[in-house]
Symmetry: C2
Subunit: 206 residues, 2 copies
C-alpha cells in the first residue's frame, strides 16, 4: 500500500466508514457487510469494497467484515490509533463549543490548550482549560509539539493565526472561519463551512 | 438533465465549486478555466469538467468559463438562487455562533428563528432574534413554512428535536449533535462532524 497514491476522494470517505463501524461496535455488533455498511453511510456496497481494497484485504467472501479488525486497521490508516493534542485558537462561541464538545472521545483527538487575544478572556477558564494569551501562540504550540489546531477566530484575523500556527510547526488545521486559508503544501487544511452542507441539502429539496 | 440521476458524490462537489467561483468573482475575476478552478479546490480539471457536464455545457473550448454565468447556473442547480429561511434549535455555544455567523450571506440562507428549551434563555435576545420556546417548535416552524433547520442541541435530545422538525415539515437538517439522526427518506441530513475533518487531516500527517 502506498498512501500517497490513494485519491483524496477515497480518503475523505474513510472517516465516514470508521464512524459507522464504531457506532455498530458500540451497539455490540461484531461483523458487517459492505451492503449493511453502505446502507448506514449512503454509499454503494461496490464503492466501499473498492475503497477498502486500496488498503488491503479486509473481508472474506461470504463472511463479511470483522468490525474490531476493520476499526483497528482504519484507525491505523487514518493515524488515529493514537491521541492527537489539538490547539484551539479563538475562544468565542465556536471555540467554547469545541472545548466542551464530547464528540472527539475515542476518535483520536483531545483539546490540549486554547488561546484568545482578548485581555478580558485571557486567564479565565473554560472547563479545565485556562485561556492562554495568543501572543504566546507560537512558543506554546511549539513547546507542546502540537501538530493539529482549530481556527475559530473572525475571518479578518484567521490568515494571521494560520501563519503563526504554521510557524509553530502545526501540520493540520481545521478552519471554522469563513475564508480560504493559504498555507504551505505540507500543511493540510479542512474547512468547516455550514453553507456547503446546507447547499448539499437544498439541491435535493427544491 | 435529470437531477435524480446525478451521483451524490458529484452533488457534494458543486457547493465547493460555487464557493470558489464566488471568491473569484468577489476578487473581480470574470473568466476561469477548469485548470484554475481545479487548483483552487484541489480537484482535477478533468473531474471538474466531467462533473459540470452532468448539467449541460458551461464553457467553450479555449475560452473557459464565464464566471457570472456559471455562478448563476450552479446557484439554480443547488436551489440557492433564492434565500432559504433557517430555524436554529438549541441556543448553546454552537447555536449562538450560527445566529451570529456572517458566512451565509449571498449563499442562499438566513437564520429566521431560534429555539431553546431552557426557561432562562427563552425570551432573551441573540442579535436581532428573540429565543423562542422549544415547546412551540412545531407550530412556529409550520406557520413560517421553514424547510431547513440546524440542530445544535445535546446528542441526548437531538433525535427528539429532529422528529419534531420533520413533523413541522422541515425537509433538510444540518446536524451539529454527535449522533446519526434517523429521518424519513424525503428528509436530507448533513452532519457537521469536526472529527471527520480532523481524520482527513491526520491521514496525511503521520
Amino acid at each position: 500500500m502506498n498512501k500517497q497514491n490513494v485519491p483524496d476522494v477515497i480518503v475523505s470517505r474513510l472517516p465516514v466508514y470508521l464512524r459507522a463501524l464504531q457506532r455498530l461496535s458500540d451497539a455490540g455488533v461484531t461483523t458487517t457487510s459492505s451492503q449493511e455498511l453502505g446502507e448506514k453511510v449512503g454509499i454503494s456496497a461496490a464503492q466501499i469494497r473498492k475503497d477498502l481494497s486500496q488498503f488491503g484485504e479486509f473481508g472474506k467472501q461470504g463472511t463479511g467484515y470483522h468490525i474490531p479488525f476493520l476499526i483497528e486497521r482504519l484507525s491505523q490508516i487514518l493515524n488515529v490509533d493514537r491521541i492527537w493534542d489539538v490547539g484551539v485558537v479563538g475562544m468565542g462561541d465556536i471555540g467554547h463549543a469545541i472545548v466542551r464538545y464530547n464528540g472527539f472521545s475515542n476518535r483520536g483527538f483531545q483539546v490540549a490548550m486554547c488561546f484568545d487575544a482578548d485581555p478580558a478572556k485571557i486567564g479565565t477558564k473554560v472547563g479545565e482549560f485556562e485561556i492562554r494569551d495568543e501572543k504566546n501562540l507560537i512558543a506554546d504550540i511549539k513547546a507542546a509539539s502540537i501538530k493539529i489546531a482549530m481556527i475559530c477566530v473572525p475571518a479578518s484575523v484567521a490568515q494571521d493565526v494560520a501563519d503563526k500556527l504554521v510557524e509553530a510547526g502545526v501540520r493540520g488545521i481545521l478552519n471554522y472561519a469563513p475564508l480560504k486559508l493559504i498555507v504551505p503544501a505540507n500543511v493540510r487544511v479542512q474547512h468547516i463551512d455550514p453553507a456547503i452542507g446546507l447547499q448539499r441539502i437544498t439541491y435535493y429539496i427544491a
